[in-house]
């Protein structure tokens, strides 16, 4: 286990040597967005442990019937504008979030995180 972890660290370090400063900033933004997601989104949009768990994930499964991933983190078609609209206006039973909860900076990071796997 230790060897494997070390390998990952080394690979990451090598990758870091060749990364640009811009990529590092992007990565930091995505990491920040992941933390925002953990704090505010994952409690409803995480991996369900049971049929009554993670109401956000369950509702999206009902709505899209598998046409897109029910877990938001697995989506590749969310746009920054759509994410901001939903967070600031809510959707259905999901309430909107105040800036004391998700600040403008948090929003930018969350957008970066949820669009990180979008096709270019």
């Amino acid at each position: 286990m230790r060897v494997k972890s070390l390998s990952i660290i080394l690979l990451a370090s090598c990758a870091g040597i060749f990364s640009t400063a811009g990529n590092a900033q992007d990565q930091a933004l995505v990491e920040h967005g992941s933390q925002v997601y953990d704090k505010w989104c994952r409690i409803c949009h995480g991996e369900p442990a049971s049929p009554i768990d993670m109401v956000g994930t369950q509702k999206l499964q009902e709505r899209y019937q598998g046409a897109v991933p029910a877990k938001l983190e697995d989506r590749t078609n969310l746009t920054p504008e759509f994410i901001e609209t939903i967070v600031r206006n809510g959707l259905g039973l999901m309430p909107f979030f105040r800036k004391i909860e998700v600040s403008d900076e948090d929003m930018e990071a969350l957008q970066a995180y949820l669009t990180r796997n979008n096709p270019n």
Binding site: I43, I52, D53, M54, V55, G92, L93, R98
Partner: protein
């Protein structure tokens, strides 16, 4: 253009905002329309109509008690009404919306420090911005062997929840959340800081004994407007060795009468946690076609017909899950005692054993536990029953008896039908037992973001329910701001002396009427005179 506080012009308002900025930093004063709109009730009973009803004028987010004091002093200087919120997640009961349009919301979310958790003396002291998730995580990260008692949504605040008479799921001395508090700190309307209980003695231990000496005034801060609570202590349950839940099923509808008496006794003897009533015969809203046909008949169904149908289907009329906490020997012995007492009295009662869960429990086992709040694990599962666009909770306090449940089904069912809001409560709708000393008949009225007509009918039905409940001698335990006045006025014994006494206190301690005007149906003199 922001909604201004009543009687305040824009120039004065801008001057007050600048003072707030100087006191707590410009980053923590929110005054743009876009930012202020986020303080509306997300489950807004005015969607599709005037959505800015009960809208704030601005929001301020202090980080410390000293900053709260500064805000209160500025509000006094400029006569600006304030409305404090803790985490602002009181959905179904108003969210972060003030009782008075134009109030400045004091958003306490940044005050999110866990001051102390004592594993030896089983208490916690927290600030209002701490959520149940935060407190739970704090305890778990440190491996402390104490439990929190949480309501259904885990993102709420222990302080905010207790201050709205919120409730939970474990033993009675913990799940009455205000009842389990052990002293508080509040900023008074004049800007002074006060502590109650043993915290009122310099060097005293907040968390020890809530009464201290003299009048106990902590209740003034519950659904009231006598100050902004900035710290609160709560008793915590020590982690038990075991949890056990067994299910009792009784065959006939009228069997609920003796069942409730036995369960009340088990509760009051301290042998069980929250009893969870249900109905196999009426489960899932009475979706059985035969049952629906019976209920749709003019005059409804008789108990004999309902019992015959339940017997044909081979299901009981009522069930109750009994929850036990403590040593393994004790939980099993208490379950045996409950079985014996109920079996002696109710013919045909059946008992479904559960399993013993032991603690400490792994995180993975907690994730799959059937009802996590019963073991103090916060989550968000409750939102699975919230209708598409949210809801209003009508929550009537009724005596702990089956007779009150039956009467409530009739009284509130008639209003649902009259207002075209569906069949409403059926003959198997039970009561919520979150509070250990009363039943709560709770009905969630659906809201729509686009159908203003539905929302108007829901508001009218809500008001009819308040009046109908009052006719029965019942009142509500919490409610969205739009209904606070009507509810308070229903507590009308001796010419509304309860409200009038609170108003006298209000005028004395908050002469400028700046502290949460209208909260709990209590208005300061200047606004009472305007309304008159």
């Amino acid at each position: 253009m922001a909604t201004l506080p009543p009687g305040i012009n824009d120039q004065t308002f801008q001057a007050a905002l600048n003072e707030f900025r100087n006191a707590i930093g410009a980053d923590w004063v929110f005054s743009s329309d876009e930012d202020v709109a986020l303080y509306r009730d997300a489950y807004n009973p005015f969607w599709g109509e005037d959505e800015r009803t009960l809208e704030a004028s601005a929001a301020v987010a202090p980080d410390t008690t000293e900053e709260v004091q500064a805000i209160v002093r500025i509000a006094n200087q400029y006569q600006i009404p304030l409305y404090p919120i803790s985490t602002g997640k009181n959905l179904g009961y108003g969210g972060s919306s003030p009782n008075l349009s134009g109030s400045v919301v004091v958003d306490l979310k940044r005050m999110n420090r866990v001051i102390e958790v004592s594993e030896d003396k089983n208490y916690a002291i927290v600030e209002p911005g701490v959520s149940y998730f935060d407190l739970y995580n704090y305890i778990q990260e440190r491996g402390l062997r104490v439990w929190i008692d949480c309501p259904d949504p885990g993102w709420g605040s222990p302080v905010g929840n207790a201050l709205d008479h919120g409730v939970g799921y474990t033993y009675n001395r913990y799940r009455d959340h205000f009842g389990s508090h052990a002293g508080l700190e509040a900023v008074l309307p004049n800007g002074e800081v006060m502590r109650t209980g043993m915290g009122a003695i310099p060097g005293g231990e907040m968390g020890n004994y809530r009464y201290g000496f003299g009048p106990e005034i902590d209740g003034l801060f519950v659904q009231g407007n006598f100050g902004i609570v900035t710290k609160m202590a709560f008793h915590l349950m020590p982690e038990p060795e075991a949890y056990y839940s067994g299910r009792v099923i009784v065959p006939r509808r009228q069997d609920l009468i003796p069942l409730v008496k036995h369960v009340n006794n088990l509760e009051d003897l301290g042998l069980i946690g929250q009893p969870e009533y249900g109905s196999p015969a009426g489960g899932f809203g009475g979706n059985n076609p035969e049952l629906q046909e019976l209920l749709a008949r003019p005059g409804g169904a008789t108990d004999a017909e309902l019992d015959a149908l339940a017997a044909r289907r081979g299901v009981g009329s009522w069930s109750v899950n009994l929850q036990f906490y403590g040593p393994e020997e004790s939980v099993l012995a208490n379950w045996a005692f409950a079985r014996r007492k109920i079996a002696e009295d109710i013919e045909g009662a059946q008992f479904e054993p559960g399993q013993v869960y032991r603690f400490p429990m792994s995180d993975e086992d907690k994730r799959t536990f059937p009802h996590r709040v019963a073991i103090g694990v916060p989550n968000m599962e409750i939102f699975r029953i919230v209708p598409q666009d949210g809801l209003l909770y009508f929550s009537a306090l009724v005596p702990r008896s089956a007779e009150a449940i039956f009467r409530g089904q009739q009284v509130f069912g008639e209003i649902y039908r009259e207002m075209g809001l569906g069949p409403g409560p059926n003959p198997y709708q039970g009561a919520a037992t979150w509070h250990p000393r009363t039943f709560i008949l709770i009905n969630g009225f659906p809201l729509s973001r686009t159908d203003g007509d539905l929302n108007a009918r829901v508001r009218q039905a809500f008001r009819m329910c308040i009046d109908a409940a009052a006719e029965e001698g019942w009142g509500e335990y919490r409610a969205p701001p739009a209904f606070a006045d009507q509810i308070m006025n229903a507590y009308s014994f001796n010419g509304n002396v309860l409200r009038r006494f609170c108003e006298d206190l209000k005028d004395s301690v908050d002469p400028n009427g700046i502290m949460a005007p209208g909260r709990g149906g209590i208005w300061p003199r200047r606004l009472r005179e305007e309304q008159a």
